[in-house]
Symmetry: C2
């Protein structure tokens, strides 16, 4: 039996091994500055923080540690969103049960200090391109640890921070929604057939065809995200050839549905840990 | 900075990510029953044993633990030989220095109990196909832990066990030869250019072209191993097209130069840990 932290690390690796995952780095596709091996190093580096989450460290501290370790490679942000899902899932697997109710109890218990850890995590990695605008909100995540005094003044818990951005961020939505898509992805992976990376890739395309990816929406606008969703539907109906063409097209235009990949990584963890899916 | 155990785990992952590595599992080639994800799970599972090696556990105990963790996947033996190299290298990085002399001092200090751990490790994984012949030697590794009383009776250290098979096993030869090929591989990886997995693949073919692979020799005979070496020389001279054809041919005939891959993983570790090669 693998420990929950081992399964979480393996989930990160299986996610990037699944191919084709249109627009994302996988075994066969990578960007010049964001390559397959950056995800391998990111997963290895994240493990200490995942171990900390299992061992009872405060959630925000464990998350910051996972992100800090993940960032020790030259590709930049590889698995930030995935770790924001995996940290409470690992804790739920150890302390509660790995169910929507179990993980909801974990995230609802998150504290103001956990919110501080979340903001500090942004110091380790550039999640978004560009400088901070002058009129940026006092709680803009791009402020990183500079926002911590404001977080404390307002007494915001990490759950409250997530709730505030749930309408525009698919990872935050999982936090306030009992990890609904994560558990649906896990069910699909567990019920699938054949090698696990292939099931992950199939689940990725299924998720992508059902809801606009919020990372694409942030980077390229809501219309682009909706168009990617529709094209994912068409690719699924048409079969492997169109899926490959779709994948090529997204990589060429630099459209990376990263939030959907984060949910797949979280779903893989649940499938390994709760459902005993074997590799 | 990554810890030595983290670098060792990452070396296992980078080794399998390098492509093309003719005859070995890599990102683009796998066997029906030995797939890419088995190596991912093997690397994750091995980490506890590598941590134990760094933390000062006896070498044989750390190695057995690494192999036990590695074997928690359905592909069978993925990284047994690589771990037999990495365990003393991790110890040398922590306790001595990561040099031929440093690791020689580590392996020369190995004890009879380390030899017992080595034999016990065979209980966790089928390294060789087939049943034990009736006339098998009392110290045949296929006996696994059943050979431990004989090891103790004869007072054999793990170094002595390795020395006994150094003429027919390329991993054992590293133990008695100051890890010569490992350090040459590390120099080549450190001096290379471009993404690290590509350097690992180039180093694999270079090593394969210079000495017959002992795993191929065990499975298919010495003539087959020599032929693979000559074909590797031809492929290197001719370029990428012949390398790909060579890779395809070896996978089709089930010829897997596993010992050469083990040395590449060990070389990657030294390049990451000693030379500061970055991913």
């Amino acid at each position: 039996m693998r420990t929950p932290a081992q399964n979480a690390e393996l989930a990160l690796l299986l996610e990037v091994a699944g191919t084709p995952k249109p627009g994302n780095v996988d075994r066969e596709r990578e960007y010049a500055d964001l390559r397959f091996e950056h995800f391998l190093a990111g997963a290895v580096g994240a493990r200490d923080g995942l171990d900390a989450a299992a061992d009872g460290a405060p959630l925000g501290e464990a998350f910051e540690r996972a992100v800090e370790g993940m960032s020790r490679q030259r590709g930049g942000n590889t698995q930030f969103g995935a770790l924001l899902l995996l940290t409470p899932l690992v804790r739920a697997a150890v302390d509660r049960d790995l169910s929507p109710d179990g993980v909801a109890a974990v995230v609802e218990d998150a504290t103001v200090e956990d919110a501080a850890g979340f903001y500090r995590a942004f110091d380790h990695v550039d999640v978004f391109a560009g400088d901070l605008p002058e009129d940026a909100d006092a709680l803009d995540v791009r402020r990183g640890s500079d926002a911590v005094p404001e977080v404390r003044d307002r007494g915001l818990t990490l759950y409250e921070v997530m709730a505030e951005s749930a309408d525009r961020d698919g990872v935050a939505r999982e936090w306030v929604d009992g990890f609904g898509r994560t558990f649906r992805a896990a069910d699909r992976i567990a019920d699938g057939e054949g090698p696990v990376p292939g099931r992950a890739a199939e689940t990725f395309l299924w998720l992508l065809s059902r809801r606009p990816d919020t990372f694409v929406a942030k980077q390229h606008g809501p219309e682009a995200a909706r168009s990617v969703m529709v094209r994912a539907q068409e690719a699924r109906e048409d079969g492997p050839r169109l899926v490959d063409a779709f994948a090529k097209s997204l990589v060429e235009s630099g459209v990376n549905p990263g939030t959907t990949a984060d949910v797949v990584a979280a779903g893989l963890f649940v499938a390994l840990e709760r459902d005993g899916v074997e590799v």
